[in-house]
Symmetry: C2
Subunit: 204 residues, 2 copies
DNA sequence: GTCAAACGATAACATTTGTTACCGAATTGA
DNA sequence: TCAATTCGGTAACAAATGTTATCGTTTGAC
């Protein structure tokens, strides 16, 4: 594809990191990586709309995305994704059901996408390799834990504590993402997030 | 073991349901099921304490359990489990890390437990079978989705809506579980749950 | 450069939810 | 059976959070 020729260096830079985790032949590796296509999109591009069925998974070379849903007319941001992450509306992509979420760019983005058919075939093939299927299971498991932890923070922490955690663990997120997205991500109103910031600014 | 002889019918009744999902020889099946041991415990028995490392997974024949953690001195219930469910402090059991949760019976329970070593060996063996590893992946995936959905309900719904969902989808839970456990499970105080019930009782 | 839209801060007020305290019923254990 | 504990309801008040409105700044499109 022309996209592949447009920036072969970028693709290999990104996928290179995963090369040693794929104990497959160079030919297979070529085949797999060749299934990705590069696109560049402006900010606020909707890659997948709530209710549609996801056919693509994305790898983020540059930029950031958010996953959100419509709750009684207001947008609630559910998750953020940054460079080197793979993103899809996971439940829609896996099961072919209408997506519960929209997938939208926050900044201008450079993305690599791969079609579901290719992913399915790839997974089928590599899960014959014991070390690969352990990796896949671990990845799935870690994602489960991530949701569990995230949920836990909602049950355990106050909004202010959640914001402070974000500050400590993901300061880049605060820098790059508009505040009203962060507010809904934390489960509070924009106004209340302002109050919390104000409170923290003055000596706590 | 004597436990196995104590109630062979119960074990087969419970595991029988899974027999057709295990395309293994009768000998293997015998080996696997023989690794379970039956115990009976009173209500309020702590099967695993927060901070300990989980070595056992449980299958519930009769009764119900809750998973909870200590949050600044108060107990927060995170999940409930009923008959025919398998339970463990999943992250501790899988990774050998100190458990984030305690595991406690709510009612007098009849349980079957299996040691982690046996589970590991079992998983190792059966994941050679393609249909089995698909099942395992699906189970893991479904659990991820479950956490996602549960989390979603916290972000999207009001406490009253969450209670109504519980009423509609898991009415038996409301019947069997003490109300103050349910309150913390819903993320609200006991008093507030009382208010909600009162409000619903009078014509909404 | 200009205008409109997006973004964030703040204030005033309303609503939700938590806290504490008290009561009575149900359950449990000796 | 009795006393102690657990459990759930309610009221009064406090704290947290939402809602609406206003304002100034920044950003982006043309």
């Amino acid at each position: 594809m022309s996209a592949k020729h447009a920036a072969p260096v970028s693709l290999s830079t990104i996928l290179e990191k995963f090369r040693d985790k794929f104990p497959v032949s160079p030919e297979k590796w070529q085949e797999y990586t060749g299934q990705f296509q590069r696109i560049q999109v402006p900010a606020k591009t909707i890659l997948l709309k709530e209710g549609e069925i996801s056919r693509k998974a994305y790898l983020i070379e540059k930029g950031c995305l958010r996953v959100w849903f419509d709750n009684k007319g207001e947008e609630v941001t559910f998750q953020f994704f940054f460079e080197n992450c793979t993103v899809s509306s996971i439940e829609s992509f896996k099961k072919g059901t209408p997506s519960l979420f929209s997938l939208e760019t926050i900044e201008p983005c450079t993305l690599w996408w791969i079609d579901k058919n290719d992913v399915d075939r790839l997974l089928e093939e590599v899960s014959e390799i014991p070390s690969m299927r352990n990796q896949i299971m671990n990845t799935l498991f870690e994602r489960t834990l991530h949701y569990m932890q995230h949920f836990l923070s909602f049950v355990r922490d106050t909004p202010q504590e959640r914001y402070e955690n974000l500050l400590n663990h993901h300061p880049y997120l605060i820098q790059r993402v508009p505040q009203h997205y962060i507010a809904s991500y934390l489960g509070i109103s924009r106004v209340h997030l302002s109050r919390i910031k104000n409170k923290l600014a003055r000596g706590k």
